[in-house]
């Protein structure tokens, strides 16, 4: 335990507007604290620089789910465990449920929230590729009001985002554009079978008609400073007939689109090779 714990403040505002008022009154002073599964790890490592937090974990306004024909919206403080248990998400948004099941352990899934994960902005997070494929939208809220943004625009750089100092994420909305015709594939390659940090994370969804790719979405994690939507790869696959040659060409395009690094967990070379192989695996699955 490497932190000077007595220096850390965490307070529990009674409701969301009290939290937002405080954040507006003292910009950059107070940061939201949800399940703590990222922040407490930093605290224990002596690496949590910021010392003033507002507990948002229990705020009702950040929980719950609403469903309409166009989309599913759920609160940012929804935990991974809750995502896994939801039958509608399991039926229509399997990539997100797969990601939730691969995140940490049961104990961390019981506490970790999707909003917290997004705000923490780790390039190795497991859910963001799924959210990108699903064209997720985030509702950012402050005492001044709220705004919806496309999740694909949210991360602007390594651990940087559009979130303003007085804002927090209130909701995540998933458009129900998919449907059973879409083939979905999620694979996380980590350090072991469970409780693993991702080395490469792949999420893909495609509409295939007579062996031709009518539409495709591909996103990857752990291969760039932020989650990456492989737009160049999507574009060159769009409208093409599935074939081994197409797969080879797509792998080359992907290799140029991603920017993996060497770190203590893995190497750029490994990540690039595996990202290509996961794409190939996805395309093979589409051909089946």
């Amino acid at each position: 335990m490497r932190a000077y714990v007595p220096a850390y403040e965490i307070q529990a505002p009674p409701d969301l507007s009290a939290a937002l008022d405080r954040m507006a009154a003292e910009p950059n002073e107070w940061k939201p604290f949800a399940g703590g599964t990222d922040l407490m790890v930093l605290l224990e490592a002596g690496k949590l620089a910021h010392t003033k937090y507002l507990n948002i974990y229990h705020l009702r306004e950040l929980r719950g789910m609403s469903v309409n024909p166009a989309n599913i919206t759920f609160g940012a403080a929804t935990t991974y465990a809750q995502i896994r248990r939801d039958s509608l998400l399991a039926a229509e948004f399997t990539l997100l449920c797969s990601a939730a099941a691969e995140t940490g352990s049961i104990a961390t899934q019981n506490r970790g929230t999707l909003g917290g994960n997004i705000a923490n902005a780790s390039p190795a997070a497991d859910s963001p590729p799924a959210l990108i494929v699903y064209d997720a939208e985030l509702e950012l809220v402050s005492s001044r009001g709220s705004r919806w943004i496309a999740y694909r625009d949210f991360h602007t750089g390594y651990r940087q985002s559009l979130l303003r100092p007085d804002e927090l994420i209130r909701s995540i909305r998933l458009p129900r554009n998919g449907g059973p015709a879409w083939k979905q594939h999620y694979r996380k390659v980590g350090t072991r079978r469970a409780q693993a940090i991702s080395k490469v994370c792949f999420a893909g969804a495609a509409l295939v008609e007579n062996g031709k790719i009518a539409d495709v979405r591909i996103a990857l994690g752990s291969i760039a400073p932020t989650v990456l939507r492989a737009t160049a790869t999507e574009q060159m696959l769009q409208g093409e007939q599935l074939s081994p040659a197409l797969s080879q060409a797509a792998q080359q395009t992907l290799a140029r689109e991603i920017a993996p690094i060497d770190d203590m967990r893995s190497t750029a070379r490994y990540r690039r090779r595996v990202a290509q192989n996961l794409l190939a695996e996805f395309l093979e699955k589409l051909s089946a």
Binding site: M1, V5, R192, Q195, I197, M264, R273
Partner: protein, 745 residues
């Protein structure tokens, strides 16, 4: 006739505390007014200490601060030699070397203070690899950077090359491995000139600590007392390192006048304490046309880190095991342990043998292939038998039948069928399966004259109520030592297990039974317990107070009467080497070990060629380790050891930068979870060996020797990759697979 307790899975006497959380480990113990202790360490691998700077804003006057100049006696942590300082004084020789100690009642402020201390060091060139050390780019230890060297010569290796039909060479490497006991290290010390030093701790060897503290404090032996707390795993990692922490805690206690508790957090434990010695082994092997070993020329090097600690003994064991369970007329083994500027490496289950056996068994598969033989046939033609000699010219006097162990492993796992089927099914599959095995042995007890030198002791004492108490320095840390002693004593006394009590090791009461290491506790110390128990029984029988047929009530009555009449009823036993064990330390020849465990381990793996991830799907462990005293505990040792071996083979990678481990977190140093460990089939062949109690031998370390090479051979079978190094990381394997053109989808 009373039913035998030997061979029964008696429940552990201390088990209830574990499942209820009432067992008290060192961090669960508290003393009024206790201070917390912390260690400030060198940030660089090698250098001269110029200054220690205490930062602003900390109330330093509230702290107890200890440096080398506060040491009342000698500044070294005695082990084999006295080269390792307790606190660095003018020089540091590895990153994380302890320089300053702090104590304070507030653990949060203590941590803040630790960070506020800067040690200014003028760096010196550091040696960080075996190659640089051997090349003597800098002399960092002794005259030549070499802690110890051995030379084993059997026959005449150089005469064999000319007649060889096949000559196979290979170089193999193993990386450092962290013991990763789930309970980090911890010590409580109470120390002052009036009382002396008392230590409570998570530890394996109370008498090692006792020996280390007496010179540091200049105290006589009876003023140093070591008490083992419930210990949450050791595996060798708590063999010698607790002496260092004990000295630190005691120095702080001595200076402050208050008890001090030092508990390492995981990050500190990982980066600062010992790990398994990294190794480099080179083989050159001559084989005849009909697949018989003619000569084995082996060069074996260990990276010992900055100080000697136990490196000579690790080297010894690795050397003696380097040529394995094979009959080869000509063997040369040249080995050495060298110094580098990293935290000293130390004891870890297997202790040199996992390193040399990995190299050997990988090499044997390659030799088999070169000789045009399947790996099992090659082994069959070369396995050693009773009456033949091992590499150190030890005549095998046990009824060893390695071929039978191998057959049992094949039968249990379906080896031949799977080997053929995997080869067929791998065609056109992205996931390749493989099956591989390793054949090996592990000597139980200390090498050669080691047990004679240790001269272990045990004491049994009967109470007037007829309870017999076992007093031994052996430490229970989950492996079941207490239970085995209970069974052995109960059997010898003809009593039920609940009439036996094994005392928690406390050097004020228990004699020195030697360290709890080297697969020796059941065989050697259990043997002493058995003798002492027999002595007590015989004393009662001979006194006439006990008839030849008795129950525990009669026994209790006899004890009560005996003690009232004659005084204490006890037996103190000291180890004596059997007369027929002869070992020559200078030529390194003779009876290296009194007994060996013999084994064949077999692994089935799947390798996903898209990601180069290796999954061990199934594991079969067949061994002959003498009589099994407690089947459940023995199987537990094998299962746990195999899991650690799987970690060693494919998951556990220490990442070094400038002589420091940079992945010292459980999130980045990967041990297997419940999803990563395969079903493990454990099979025991029981052949009673002469001198262990009821024919028992040692088992604790054996599983670490054969698991990694079995897995590596399976990976080689699955993919054709010529594995030369563990851990087999996906990053390394994928490059090989690419070269073998398997990685492209």
């Amino acid at each position: 006739m009373k039913e035998s307790i030997i061979g029964k899975s008696i429940l552990r006497p201390e088990g209830r505390g574990k499942v209820t959380g009432t067992a008290r480990y060192i961090d669960d113990l508290d003393f009024p007014g206790i201070l917390h202790g912390a260690t400030v360490r060198s940030p660089v691998a090698r250098g001269r200490i110029k200054a220690i700077h205490f930062g602003e804003g900390i109330p330093w006057d509230q702290f107890t601060i200890v440096t080398a100049k506060d040491i009342p006696g000698k500044n070294y942590v005695a082990l084999m030699i006295n080269d390792q300082p307790c606190l660095a004084d003018q020089f540091v020789n590895h990153a994380e070397e302890a320089v300053v100690l702090l104590a304070h009642p507030d653990k949060y402020l203590l941590e803040e203070a630790r960070r506020a201390i800067r040690i200014r060091i003028e760096p010196l060139p550091a040696i960080l690899t075996i190659e640089d050390s051997l090349a003597k780019k800098e002399i960092i230890w002794g005259e030549d950077n070499i802690f110890k060297a051995f030379a084993v010569n059997k026959g005449d290796v150089d005469s064999a090359w000319a007649e060889a039909a096949f000559i196979v060479e290979g170089e193999y490497e193993t990386g450092a491995q962290e013991q990763l006991y789930i309970e980090p290290q911890g010590i409580i010390a109470r120390a002052n000139p009036a009382e002396g030093v008392t230590i409570w701790g998570s530890l394996q060897c109370p008498y090692y600590i006792h020996k280390a503290l007496t010179p540091i404090f200049g105290l006589p032996k009876d003023r140093v007392r070591i008490i083992q707390a419930e210990t949450g795993g050791g595996f060798g990692g708590k063999e010698e390192y607790p002496s260092m922490i004990s000295a630190h805690a005691a120095l702080l206690a001595w200076k402050s006048g208050t008890p001090v508790k030092i508990i390492y957090d995981r990050a500190e434990d990982m980066v600062a304490t010992t790990k398994r010695h990294p190794s480099r082994t080179r083989h050159r092997t001559a084989v005849s046309r009909d697949g018989k070993l003619l000569a084995m020329d082996i060069d074996f090097t260990l990276d010992g880190g900055a100080y000697e600690t136990v490196s000579p003994v690790v080297l010894s064991r690795g050397t003696i095991h380097a040529a394995g369970p094979y009959a080869c007329p000509n063997v040369r083994i040249r080995s050495r342990a060298v110094a580098t500027n990293v935290p000293p490496h130390g004891a870890f289950r297997g202790f040199g043998a996992p390193q040399s056996v990995f190299a050997l068994e990988r090499h044997m598969d390659r030799v088999a292939e070169a000789a045009g033989l399947p790996p099992d046939e090659f082994r069959r033609r070369n396995f050693v038998h009773e009456g033949q000699t091992l590499a150190v010219s030890q005549v095998v006097r046990e009824k060893v039948d390695m071929a039978r162990l191998m057959e049992r492993a094949f039968e249990a796992s379906g080896y031949h069928e799977k080997r053929a089927r995997f080869e067929r099914e791998n065609q056109g599959s992205a996931v390749k399966k493989g099956i591989g095995f390793a054949a090996f042995m592990h000597g139980a007890g200390f090498t050669g004259s080691g047990e004679e030198y240790l001269a272990s002791e045990a004491l049994l004492e009967a109470t007037p109520e007829g309870i017999v108490r076992v007093l031994a320095g052996s430490t229970e840390m989950g492996q079941g030592a207490n239970t085995v002693f209970t069974q052995v004593a109960a059997e010898a006394l003809g009593l039920d297990c609940d009439r036996i009590e094994v005392l928690q090791p406390d050097t004020a009461y228990v004699p020195n039974s030697g360290p709890t290491v080297a697969s020796r506790t059941t065989m050697i110390v259990g043997g002493l317990v058995e003798s002492a128990a027999r002595n007590i029984l015989n004393t009662l029988l001979e006194s006439g107070l006990l008839k030849s047929s008795y129950d525990s009530k009669d026994f209790a009555e006899a004890c009560r009467e005996y003690i009232a009449k004659f005084g204490p009823l006890k037996s103190f036993v000291k180890y004596h080497q059997p007369a027929d064990v002869h070992w020559d330390d200078t030529t390194y020849q003779g009876d290296a070990y009194g007994a060996y465990g013999w084994a064949v381990y077999l692994a089935e793996v799947s390798v996903d060629t898209r990601t180069a991830e290796v999954r061990v799907d199934n594991f079969t462990a067949v061994q002959e380790v003498g009589t099994i005293v407690n089947p459940m505990l023995a199987a537990g040792q094998v299962e746990g050891g195999v899991a650690q071996g799987i970690g060693f083979a494919v998951y556990e990678n220490v990442v070094w930068k400038d002589g420091r481990m940079i992945n010292g977190q459980m999130t980045n140093y990967i041990m297997p979870t419940s999803m990563d460990v395969p079903p493990i089939r454990v099979i025991f062949e029981e052949v009673p060996y002469g001198t262990g109690p009821h024919g028992a031998k040692g088992i604790g370390e054996l599983p670490l020797d054969g698991t990694a090479p079995a897995v590596a051979n399976a990976i080689a079978h699955a993919t054709g990759a010529d594995i030369r190094r563990v851990p087999v990381t996906p990053e390394a394997l994928i490059e090989t697979l690419e070269m073998l053109e398997l990685a492209h989808a």
